[in-house]
């Protein structure tokens, strides 16, 4: 992988040393667990791994974001704006909040779900609609894909499998340089035995969805 960091005086072109993912959503959607699963999968593929996560007060229904970086050589957890490879958004307005982390080469995967923050009306704000948010995002970005992952999770058997569906989509899209085996192993590591079957189905449904996105990409 080669990316162009700078078009300045000496044309600094460097080989890409690390892959960066930004997971965003609302507290309770499983953002941190998703990041943890990806971290273990990257470890199994032999990479160095770094994450930075939101814990504590902000988690109470607030915006949650988690950075993940992995590669043969990586020290830092925070991703500079413009250098995210993949943004995985569990909620559409949270996708919009981080749109400026994406650069020309960022792929944006967005669960087309809106969670209206409580108190928004009381504070005198009007929350934009799904369509409005989608349009804003499409106007800003090229490589952006919408899907209904909550529906797929329910189809698999539980709304709680949302994060596994999202991981499946990411893998199916072929944009995530992690082996399927590693990701599957890593998922199982965090799922209690009794829920493994539902999550296996959720993963497959996600992968299929991701593959259809891949066809769109071509």
């Amino acid at each position: 992988m080669v990316i162009q960091i700078n078009k300045g005086l000496e044309n600094w072109i460097i080989e890409k040393k690390r892959f960066s993912v930004l997971n965003v959503g609302v507290g309770g959607q499983g953002i941190i667990r998703t990041t943890q699963i990806l971290a273990w999968a990257a470890l199994m593929d032999g990479y160095q791994v770094r994450t930075a996560e939101t814990h504590g007060m902000a988690q109470r229904g607030g915006s949650v974001s988690a950075y993940l970086r992995f590669g043969p050589e990586v020290a830092s957890p925070l991703i500079p704006k413009g250098y995210v490879d993949i943004i995985l958004a569990f909620e559409i307005s949270e996708a919009l909040r981080v749109f400026n982390f994406s650069g020309p080469n960022t792929y944006f995967f967005v669960n087309n779900k809106i969670i209206i923050p409580p108190m928004v009306n009381q504070m005198g704000f009007k929350y934009p609609s799904n369509e409005n948010l989608c349009q804003q995002l499409k106007n800003l970005l090229n490589n952006i894909y919408f899907f209904d992952a909550d529906k797929l999770a329910l189809k698999a058997g539980t709304s709680k499998a949302l994060n596994v569906v999202m991981l499946g989509i990411l893998l199916g899209s072929d944009k995530l340089p992690i082996k399927e085996d590693s990701l599957q192993h890593s998922i199982l590591r965090f799922i209690p035995k009794k829920s493994q079957e539902v999550n296996r189905i959720a993963f497959q449904l996600g992968i299929e969805k991701g593959k259809s996105i891949r066809r769109e990409l071509l």
Binding site: G8, K17, G82
Partner: protein, 634 residues
């Protein structure tokens, strides 16, 4: 249950660890015996993880202490008794512990003694972003700072050895991104410290009265000087020199902690990692003077990359002066990087490019302004605090009085936001009652003074302030929000639950008995179920109208824990619904009570209850004046 990955005895195995787990692992590997502290983001998971290790390593003797000062003293008692000991807290916790800490640093460590201070640049979960590296300079002890999870594990392990060897307490400073970031870590060997533990009756050392302290102060200065001279050989400090010039100039960098990790990747991004000199610090205080002198005399321009205060930068400038190098080398720091907040990824790219004189164009798409209302953290659905605060707002309206709601640190501070707006002050742990004491001296009965704080916060430092109110007859109403948990930091137990960190039974301290013991008369103490709104209003009215020091204990289990308990005991969560034929669309439940499970259908002009998130607390049934909300019984 299988052994958690952070407890496994397989040296060499690579795992992913949260920074806090890695710190706990380092503590385990060092053979530490005593661990004590008080929960506080971003430090809490360290002791939580040690608690999970305890079943496999029974020698670990750990506790959640009542506050950071006591936690420090517990650990220091361990160190005095020759056991390796650790005290764990967030940055502001060290303020609480500092009375003991400052003098303990005179007497120093016997068994290895480390204090972990988790700092929080950007105030992600804190009331300030103080830089606790200053405590090292203040107390004359070394400050270690790791830059990755692996280094955190290795460095804290080494810190105990270092502490014992040099008889010094070590301050182990981290920042949020280290504590709450994961990284690959290679497990190391778990040391077995085989030596007798016990007190040594060395009164000249442990009794810090003036005649002893003067002697101890001399020893402290000698110790710090010795450590300062050793800093150049400190294994976690490293200097990489490069004689290369970029446009005729030799560049140097100094960093530690997360900024070091970010800096290194930034230099790699620019292909500069071998073209500049880099001094990496694992021990930030005291600084390695010889290494710094070498760097100062090897480059033309130095950039110090440190978040918050310019501590290293100032030390560097001082050393440049002492070494007569002021005219030979330019020292930069805060003229490039801000003195506030966390440095974002792109700040490093921008400032390093700026410093070296490379043109750097931002890669990100234009930063246009988006019109999106904020998503603020809120009290959870079914949170018992909401009910208490709502009762307070109802009373304020009914009595036509403006209360001064002096509040405190915990989930309940979120009631500052709309629609409750029931929090008027928040400074520090236990500060609600202390400030209320002051307000009572100024304000008339037109402004009833309420001190509102949680159960754990009350135990932490509310008790002395309550005794103060009783003693000095400061007329206040203390409202203790007893949700039987230290929820904000991860549901830790406290004296009010009587459950120890290991989940073994301890001795429960009953708040109403404690309050009575503080001198509050029985007729001035109320205990009510927070979720019984009508009764709450009635009894709170009584309490507000009474005189003297009064304590109102509003008690109901944290809704998140209650949901967990219901699930465990297979109890059906009550189903609460809205009868559309009765709902008048008055919006009181949505706009004034404001549970996140309630929303308003603006077409039908009716309230909806989101059954996915409703926790069946049933408080909204009492909120509704038209009996439109009911519990569905099948």
């Amino acid at each position: 249950m299988s052994m958690p990955y952070f407890a496994e005895e397989i040296p060499g195995k690579r795992v992913i660890m949260l920074g806090n787990e890695a710190i706990a692992r380092g503590i385990l590997e060092a053979g530490v015996v005593i661990g004590a502290g008080y929960p506080g983001t971003p430090s809490s998971e360290i002791l939580d993880t040690l608690a999970k290790m305890k079943p496999y390593y029974p020698h670990l003797n750990i506790e959640w202490s009542i506050n950071e000062k006591v936690g420090f003293e517990v650990a220091y008692g361990g160190s005095m008794s020759n056991a390796r000991s650790v005290a764990l807290m967030k940055h502001v916790g060290l303020n609480v512990a500092s009375d003991a800490f400052m003098t303990a640093c005179y007497a120093g460590a016997r068994g290895g003694m480390v204090v972990v201070s988790a700092d929080d640049p950007n105030c992600f979960s804190s009331q300030n972003e103080q830089d606790n590296r200053y405590f090292g300079l203040h107390a004359l002890i070394p400050v270690f700072e790791p830059s990755t999870a692996q280094e955190a594990k290795d460095l804290i392990k080494y810190a105990f050895e270092f502490s014992e060897e040099h008889h010094t307490i070590v301050l182990f400073r981290t920042t949020t991104r280290l504590n709450h970031g994961r990284g690959d870590v290679m497990l190391g060997e778990i040391q077995n410290i085989d030596r007798p533990y016990g007190f040594d009756w060395d009164r000249a050392r442990w009794v810090c009265l003036p005649s002893h302290s003067r002697v101890l102060r001399t020893k402290l200065l000698e110790r710090f000087e010795k450590i300062s001279n050793l800093a150049d050989e400190f294994p976690f400090n490293s200097l990489k020199l490069s004689s290369e010039k970029i446009n005729g100039i030799r560049y140097g960098f100094i960093a530690a902690g997360i900024p070091y990790a970010q800096l290194i990747d930034t230099l790699i991004d620019f292909g500069l990692e071998n073209k500049v000199s880099i001094l990496k610090l694992g021990m930030v205080i005291p600084p390695p003077k010889k290494l710094i002198r070498k760097l100062l005399s090897s480059v033309d321009k130095i950039l110090v990359v440190e978040e918050l205060e310019p501590i290293i930068e100032n030390i560097l400038k001082q050393l440049a002066y002492e070494n007569k190098l002021v005219n030979e080398v330019e020292i930069h720091g805060k003229d490039y990087f801000p003195q506030q907040g966390e440095f974002s990824g792109e700040i490093y790219l921008e400032k390093v490019a700026n410093f070296i004189g490379i043109k750097f164009e931002k890669n990100s798409i234009p930063d246009i302004k988006i019109s999106l209302p904020p998503r603020l953290p809120v009290l959870c659905p079914g949170c018992s605090h909401r009910s208490t605060f709502y009762a307070i707002t109802l009373l304020e309206k009914e009595l036509k009085l403006k209360f001064i709601n002096s509040s405190d640190i915990g989930c309940y501070t979120l009631a500052v936001y709309k629609p409750l707006e029931c929090v008027d002050t928040e400074i520090c742990m236990g500060g609600s009652i202390g400030l209320a004491n002051g307000f009572a001296k100024i304000h008339s009965t037109e402004n009833p003074i309420l001190a509102i704080l949680g159960d754990s916060t009350f135990f932490h430092s509310g008790v002395p302030a309550l005794i103060n109110a009783v003693y000095n007859q400061n007329n206040i109403l203390v409202v203790i929000l007893d949700n039987r948990s230290t929820s904000m930091t991860g549901f830790q137990d406290n004296p009010g639950t009587g459950i120890k960190i290991t989940k073994e039974p301890g001795t429960r301290v009953v708040i109403e008995e404690l309050v009575r013991g503080c001198g509050v008369p029985s007729e001035n103490i109320w205990v009510e179920d927070s979720n019984n709104l009508n009764k709450m209003v009635e009894k709170l009215r009584e309490a507000v109208k009474s005189q003297g020091v009064r304590v109102f204990i509003s008690r109901h289990l944290c809704s998140l824990l209650e949901e967990r308990e219901f699930r465990l005991k297979q109890i059906q969560i009550p189903v609460v619904k809205v009868d559309p034929s009765k709902c008048k669309g008055c919006l009181i439940c949505v706009n004034q009570f404001g549970c996140p499970a309630l929303s308003f259908d603006s077409e039908e002009k009716k309230t909806n209850i989101d059954q996915e998130i409703c926790r069946g607390c049933k408080v909204c049934i009492s909120v509704c004046q038209y009996d439109a909300i009911y519990e569905e019984i099948n």
